[in-house]
Subunit: 136 residues, 2 copies
Amino acid sequence: MRLSNLADYAVVAMCAASRHCGGGKTSAAELAAETGLPVPTVQKLVSKLSAAGLLRSTRGAGGGLQLARPAAAITVADIVEAVEGPIALTACVEGADCLVEHDCSVKPHWPVVNEALRGALAAIPLTQLARTREIA
Amino acid sequence: MRLSNLADYAVVAMCAASRHCGGGKTSAAELAAETGLPVPTVQKLVSKLSAAGLLRSTRGAGGGLQLARPAAAITVADIVEAVEGPIALTACVEGADCLVEHDCSVKPHWPVVNEALRGALAAIPLTQLARTREIA
DNA sequence: ATCAATCGGACCGATTTGGTCCGATTAAGC
DNA sequence: GCTTAATCGGACCAAATCGGTCCGATTGAT
């Protein structure tokens, strides 16, 4: 019942990237310096985030990264799904057959819980996270 | 972002145990037969569930298991926490220092998400799960 | 006191996760 | 047009956790 470290890091990294949104491009190395994460780890993250369409990467000298969408249109749920894949608490939510399929009275309830979690994550846009410790 | 298989199994096993509530005691072997899970796995589960105070075990010949509380007073959150430990999406929710502590603007938001998830799990008592496929 | 049936904990293999490294690609500069 | 430099992208490897299996300790009935 725990979020993977990578997903946690990704949220922090995207939060840092959103601060560079006005100033144009940033780089994986810069994000690593600001977040304190290892550079290769950040590179791995931006790969997945780019593939998911959350970041837009420009290669070559002078290249870098920028948000593919406005920060307000990116939620924690988007970031988590980009790194960990679809949010599914149990295998049967994704369609896999559980081994007690014939009389599994629990099955119908999981999608409800699943959507509750997803809704909680989708309710937090990147703009809200960028406000440094205002709600602490 | 996925529940462990053990936690999923534990919910199913507890659901099966609740059906024996009126009839008194059951056993790990019986639960295994009803759920289709391997016997040793169920034994492992009942150990943790007993330690968490959700099941009461009686040892010796003719012993067995029974719910320690009424089924209505046991929620999915209780079962998940019994098997997986406290529900904490990130390490910082539990008090551990993240390595970007000094300016982690994300940190204040995790407890909110965490409670939303926990609330969704705590809203489902065992009695609701026992109703076989009524809400499908 | 013996026996039988149960739970409880310890051991082992497998999968996933997290971290590191090197190569492919691209744009700028000469 | 070529060289150079800086970047992203994917492949490789170690570690931790998870899942499964087994055997021993404890307890009540006979």
